[in-house]
């Protein structure tokens, strides 16, 4: 089991943002998290990446608890993420954004960096090559020297994915990657996400509102509502789950 959430509870003062959430992601899976706005989906991402600490319960990554670990340590362990509202380094070039992502893979210290030792040059060279590979994969290789903030929106989203991939994750968390995209762009994104899994053997957890995309892409899904787990299963199971239908469409006798 790659990622395991065990009865995770997160409270902010009196508000319980996540209550008793458990699910697990296997290696090679594309795992979906769906639920209405404010259901606590991004909170889960923040818990998994160490931005927040769990109030109760535990999160295991490759069998070990990540409790008390700092976000950068968790990234180094192999969990990368993108953000719902894009957070690139706006003044840097596209390539530099990815090179920042390579940080944990590089080891040159101060002296090696200042004197550009042979090892350091070789390491930089390899990092550039790797970053370019990811940029090529998401289709940004021609924009490598463009300043990130001048990219169009759709490309910025792709760059976020490339930057996250540069950290060499075993698990990639994507927070609404299709937000603001049209149907054809969304379909292309679906192909890209599947390609990432197949090419780089990275497992993916995905938050998204586009149901067509989610049902098509995900191996399993969990439905969250008001911070609680409503259902979990394969796309077919979720689509036929009465509790999910009720949450999304309302009860018949209420109408």
């Amino acid at each position: 089991m790659l990622l395991e959430l065990q009865h995770v509870i997160k409270r902010f003062g009196g508000v319980t943002a996540s209550s008793d959430i458990s699910f697990s992601v296997e290696e090679g899976q594309i795992y979906g998290i769906i639920g209405p706005n404010g259901a606590g989906k991004t909170t889960l991402f923040n818990l998994i990446t160490g931005v927040y600490q769990v109030s109760e319960g535990d999160i295991l990554f490759q069998g070990t608890s990540i409790e008390g670990k700092k976000p950068h340590e968790i990234t180094a362990l192999g969990i990368a993420r993108t953000f719902q509202n894009i957070r690139l380094f706006p003044q840097m070039t596209v390539l530099e954004n990815c090179l920042v992502g390579c940080h944990t893979q590089l080891h040159s210290g101060i002296l090696a960096s200042v004197f550009h030792t042979k090892g350091q040059r070789q390491e930089e060279q390899e990092a550039r090559q790797r970053a370019m590979d990811f940029l090529k994969f998401v289709g940004l290789e021609k924009d490598a020297c463009t300043i990130a903030s001048s990219l169009p929106y759709g490309k910025q989203r792709k760059l976020e994915i490339a930057r996250a991939m540069s950290t060499h994750p075993k698990l990639l968390l994507l927070d609404e990657p299709a937000a603001g995209m049209n149907d054809s762009e969304t379909a292309a994104l679906g192909t890209l996400i599947r390609g990432l899994r197949d090419t780089y053997h990275v497992s993916i957890v995905l938050i998204e509102h586009d149901m067509n995309l989610m049902m098509d892409l995900c191996d399993r899904l969990v439905v969250i509502n008001f911070g609680k787990k409503l259902a979990e299963g394969t796309p077919a199971e979720i689509q036929n789950n009465p509790a999910v239908i009720e949450a999304y469409l309302g009860k018949e006798d209420e109408g």
């Binding site: 700092k70 976000p71 953000f83 370019m132």
Partner: protein, 320 residues
């Protein structure tokens, strides 16, 4: 020749060099998005350390200057543990407070000779003049002017060395980490960058070079007192950075030189001088809020180099 090499001109060069180092030290913390105003304090630590080591322990000057920087960095390590966790205005106020603490300490300690300050600090110009007296005789330059000239040379070399050092660092993994922390701490942390570590690193470098600037000041002015390191000093240093352009390394030396030399050129205007200085600052901030040099200006200046345009080249190039 004599007109260029007179003591006054050389003195302005010396002040410019020291101000460049001080401005760079402020820039180094700005690199990670921290506004630290403790550099007058670190400068003071470096100056007193180097002065006392040469005067009382008889240490050779280069060693004392380096130790001055190291001492400032050690103090920064202690100060930095709580303060690098602060942000924005809170960090500025805390470090400014630290600077004042150092000043008051220097005012009251016996070893710093209180408000009277330390005088008779070994002079770099004299030392260099004596060292190179034979050469100066051959060139028919008197020892005093020659010493001052050599001192300028040494300071310029130090400035170039620091610029080289920081440029190299900025273009490495560490420099990218600095820039990422400055741009977006949250995104940097989730890209695997330990932000506290890199903030601390830039804080220590900043303190070290501020300490070196202080030590150089002590050995060029030959007299230091607590008033030399009041908060005016750090406000000036910040001004150099912001005036020249605080987002790029070359901004700090440019700002430092302009704002050191200009008041000297305006000396004839007497009491109108400060007024003009103020008007200039306001005008610059109104028309170029990023300072004289910015990313865009530097990019336009380097655009002729074709290396940036072709992605394939960018991927292969080791040093960009």
């Amino acid at each position: 020749m004599d007109e260029i090499l007179n003591g006054y001109v050389l003195q302005v060069v010396v002040f410019s060099c020291i101000n460049i180092i001080l401005a760079l030290s402020v820039y180094m913390t700005l690199c990670t998005g921290q506004m630290s105003l403790g550099n007058a304090g670190f400068m003071s630590v470096g100056a007193y350390t180097s002065a006392i080591l040469t005067m009382q322990a008889g240490l050779p000057m280069p060693a004392a200057i380096v130790l001055g920087g190291i001492m400032a960095a050690v103090v920064a390590l202690i100060v930095g543990i709580p303060t690098t966790r602060l942000r924005g205005m809170y960090l500025a106020i805390a470090t400014l407070g630290f600077g004042e603490v150092v000043r008051v300490l220097a005012l009251n300690l016996k070893i710093t000779n209180g408000a009277l300050g330390l005088s008779g600090i070994p002079s770099m110009a004299n030392t260099l003049g004596d060292l190179a007296s034979d050469l100066l005789d051959v060139l028919d330059i008197d020892t005093q002017t020659g010493g001052q000239l050599l001192m300028c040379l040494v300071l310029l070399i130090v400035v170039v060395a620091i610029l080289w050092f920081w440029r190299r660092l900025e273009r490495s993994r560490i420099g990218r980490a600095f820039a990422a922390v400055k741009a977006d701490e949250h995104a940097a942390e989730l890209s695997g960058i330990p932000i506290v570590y890199y903030k601390m690193m830039s804080f220590l470098f900043s303190a070290f070079f501020a300490g070196v600037a202080g030590a150089l000041f002590a050995h060029t002015a030959n007299f230091i007192s607590p008033t030399d390191f009041s908060w005016h000093k750090v406000v000036n240093a910040l001004l150099y950075c912001v005036f020249g352009g605080s987002n790029v390394m070359w901004g700090s030396p440019l700002g430092a030189v302009i704002l050191t030399v200009l008041p000297e050129l305006l000396r004839d205007l007497a009491e109108y001088r400060d007024m003009l200085y103020g008007i200039m600052l306001v005008a610059l901030m109104a028309f170029r809020p990023d300072g004289i040099l910015s990313y865009d200006v530097l990019k336009r200046m380097t655009r002729k180099r074709p290396a940036h345009a072709v992605p394939e080249r960018a991927a292969k190039e080791g040093d960009r």
